[in-house]
Symmetry: C2
Subunit: 106 residues, 2 copies
């Protein structure tokens, strides 16, 4: 099994919007071949990143999703917020970094 974690750092004034996007997420990813499950984790210490943790059958399934139309559709609202911030000459309201893992034991 393959696990991808997207580490999301949000500007303070974007957190409510980000949480709204996550709570009403498009669920496009859930339809992808090889998708097992996803959880969005909110840190109890507000200095830490939000984590979007997804489980996949193989790394290839994850890579296929990142290249897919569903990836673009699922991230549409967040991407628009980033584009709009740039248009206004502002920093992006969130930054994300993917790290990937395999399960050593459970």
């Amino acid at each position: 099994m393959f696990v991808a974690i997207n580490y999301i750092s949000c500007k303070e004034d974007y957190k409510i919007r980000f949480e709204q996007l996550m709570s009403s997420r498009a669920k496009e990813v859930d339809t992808m071949p090889g998708f097992i499950r996803m959880e969005v984790l909110k840190p109890n210490d507000t200095h830490n990143d939000y984590l979007i943790v997804s489980h996949w059958v193989t790394e290839d399934h994850f890579i296929n999703w990142k290249k897919s139309e569903q990836f673009m559709k699922g991230h549409k609202r967040g991407f628009e917020d980033i584009v709009n911030a740039r248009k206004d000459g502002n920093e992006p309201p969130m930054k994300s970094t993917f790290k990937t893992y395999r399960i050593l034991s459970d």
Copy 2:
């Protein structure tokens, strides 16, 4: 639901030992009230931390585990490695940091 992630940074020459400990873990935690599941994640990029991700019914269940006899028993071998390194005047072979989360959506 409550999620705790233990971020583990290992010295390069301790990684094989750490993986052996994790693959043969004592499973003491699995007997604790409120325990749901645990996964040990190995990073594909060796610069990143190992993650020990545990799910609990509530934060109190997690706190009870950290104070329990089972916590001491489950970490016995790793704690001994740290104590022995200190005795020899060396840095601990691994460092760990807990961060805690709640599930925003799945």
